[in-house]
Subunit: 417 residues, 2 copies
């Protein structure tokens, strides 16, 4: 049944029996997660000699570079812990998470401040200084998730210490590596408030609901009222501290995938707070951003655009990236689940079709990461410096569970009241 | 006559009368420089209000961003001074150089060390710290060239002070902005020795021939024996301090345009030193790199490759950039002039055809900078953060003068002995 929806035509009408469609989607995404993507990383990414994960994998899974990037180490620890916690208590998944965490714990932080390095060599010697706070974010996320799978005071401590350290650094996280001259053009970025919210949720069992609930209103305000620009209906990546527009390369930048991903975080917060207005607003922004970011000629979602229509400085602006597309699938499925908006279902089918057709590697398993504008494979790697074991499995899980919930709700509607 | 060679077919045989071909090329490149490219920058890039140059220009020359990038300010001062010194003493060219230099002198350096900022805002306030020593290189080059056009002790002082400062910083020029962890993976880069050699030649009237002659053997050794890898016939961008190969993203990187540009610097040094063996070696490396970097399917020269055939980390690896192609034209013309190697002439015709057909903007003048792999315009800007008034005019000048010299030599051969 799963394969019926995989290559579904874009123009096809929705089947009369929506319940069947939902369950087909759910099964397809579940099978892809459990039978294709997780096994690929289990098989190819484990460094048996030095510990930790190889993430630079060729199309067939063979290793082409042995550097260890801390973003991706933390994300992979999170991923296998999360799947162990939420999908099935498979020992090999827990072992994988423990394997990565041991390497991270031993080599990942600097001695003075406990900041996480950006990268290490294969043996664990630091290569790149802790200039990037997202290493810390994904480390905290990984250890918190692992602590749920295999409770351990050390994991708790690492997760909480790292979280507090992020909060201390958050207003100048580049620290001495910040190349901006102080005062001339103050900008604040959209990434960190967004991820802090997600992170506090991931650490809720350690921080307590009270602490998490302190974060939520600030993040929602920042995202939906400060970075969101009503005149464009879009979210900017960087604004002045007072929320005003900066007519500069940074200030004009739109990253459609980033907005779309953020909107499903916001929908999840809306669900938690039972705020239907917030959910609908997030859904509307997501759909508008998708319209804006969709390539009308070749299909797929652009990586970057300039809000004023100027040339962006990113040479890769027209490329189609894996994470953008799979995050859009999550946002669309959740949008449909939470609002019933038919536009979400129509768009889901369209993005699903594009994504499965272009990113999935039928021959060697797992998914390609980088396509050119036409949807042709630009780099046939399965992992690298930025692509690891994270967005694809997380999204497959989220989409699976969302369609499962939609189907359950649809069935519930049919029950005699 | 000029237009005859502009759209010459790739497969066409060389005309019987090579003298005619050489003079057509010379005229074409001269006219393009004097009638198209320099007027475009004169008309559109001057900031009359705050001084300095706008470099972020749309296809039609209109300004889309007002930041001032010091690389490009210095390069444009150099360009208009150089053309004044070498093409014609046009007052508007000198005025343009003086206009840029005044802005640079007033705002461009930090107060403590005299390092050149990476960028300023329109009014001249610093935006990005002096993390990039190439700002200093092009500032020194600009002021030295301007000093030839309009001798002035202040210009001399700025050029020499900046040059000495570059030498002081050269072994750790990123300084506090260096994110590499000390000691784990020591790499040295190909860019700085190369540019120091070029720079010392530009400053020869200030430094003296003795000082310049000290640099040359070291640079030739570094480029032709340390960074050049005989087993590949290619030049690497980064090697270990002892010249050995680093199997890492940085160590595997090949930038064909950079090698090809470097090879015409080396040929110029070979001419200065009357070293025919060196010239032939540079010519051979250049031709081999061109073969290696040429896109056999769509034409044009790739931006980056991985020497072991792995996926490069640069997402823009398959794009076709203006500077790569125009620098190749210079290298091929000089290669032919200095060695008579027919492969240079054949390749020149092929690269000329591709370059003029794809990069030149027939409608609005000047040249596009960024094409996708297929040779379609990817960003239709005429200038931005990295493209300014430099490679195109410099190359047009160099190619013009080279074909003029080839023609003169050919004529001389015909004279009764």
């Amino acid at each position: 049944m799963a394969s019926d929806v995989r290559n579904e035509s874009l123009t096809e009408e929705l089947p009369a029996e929506n319940g069947l469609l939902y369950s087909s989607y759910a099964a397809l995404y579940r099978d892809e997660l459990v039978d294709n993507v997780l096994p690929f990383w289990l098989k190819h990414s484990r460094d048996e000699k030095n510990g930790g994960f190889f993430t630079c994998l060729r199309r067939d899974g063979s290793v082409y570079d042995t550097d260890k990037f801390m973003w991706l180490q933390g994300r992979q620890v999170w991923c296998f812990s999360y799947m162990y916690n939420n999908v099935a208590q498979k020992q090999e998944w827990l072992d994988m998470a423990l394997h990565g965490a041991a390497f991270m714990e031993k080599y990942g932080r600097d001695a003075t401040a406990g900041n996480w390095y950006f990268s290490l060599n294969a043996e664990g010697k630091p290569l790149t200084q802790p200039y990037n706070i997202f290493s810390d974010c994904f480390a905290a996320m990984g250890f918190a998730s692992l602590d749920k799978a295999s409770p351990n005071d050390r994991y708790k401590q690492i997760a909480v210490d790292t979280f507090e350290n992020i909060l201390r650094r958050k207003d100048n996280w580049k620290g001495i590596y910040n190349k901006a001259y102080p005062g001339t053009r103050l900008l604040k970025g959209f990434s960190l408030p967004m991820i802090l919210c997600n992170l506090s949720l991931e650490l809720e069992h350690l921080l307590g609901a009270g602490r998490v609930n302190e974060f939520i209103p600030t993040v929602i305000h920042e995202v939906m009222e400060v970075f969101y620009q009503p005149q464009y209906g879009l979210i900017l990546e960087s604004v002045h501290p007072d929320g005003s527009f900066s007519n500069s390369f940074e200030g004009r930048l739109i990253n459609p995938g980033h907005t779309i991903e953020a909107m499903w975080f916001i929908m999840d917060l809306g669900r938690r707070m039972k705020d239907k207005t917030l959910i609908q607003k997030a859904c509307d922004i997501m759909l508008h951003t998708l319209e804006y970011g969709w390539d009308k000629e070749f299909g797929g979602i652009y990586y970057f655009k300039d809000v004023l229509g100027n040339p962006p400085q990113q040479l890769e602006w027209d490329q189609k990236l894996w994470w953008v597309h799979v995050e859009a699938l999550v946002a669309l499925a959740k949008g449909f689940e939470l609002t019933g908006d038919e536009r979400c279902l129509k768009w889901f089918k369209k993005v699903h079709q594009y994504t499965w057709q272009h990113f999935r590697d039928e021959q060697y398993g797992e998914w390609f990461g980088y396509l050119n504008r036409r949807g042709e494979v630009l780099l046939d790697l399965k992992g690298g410096k930025w692509k690891g074991c994270f967005h694809i499995p997380r999204s497959l899980y989220q989409v699976w569970k969302t369609w499962e919930a939609v189907e359950a709700n649809a069935d519930a509607d049919k029950l005699p009241g």
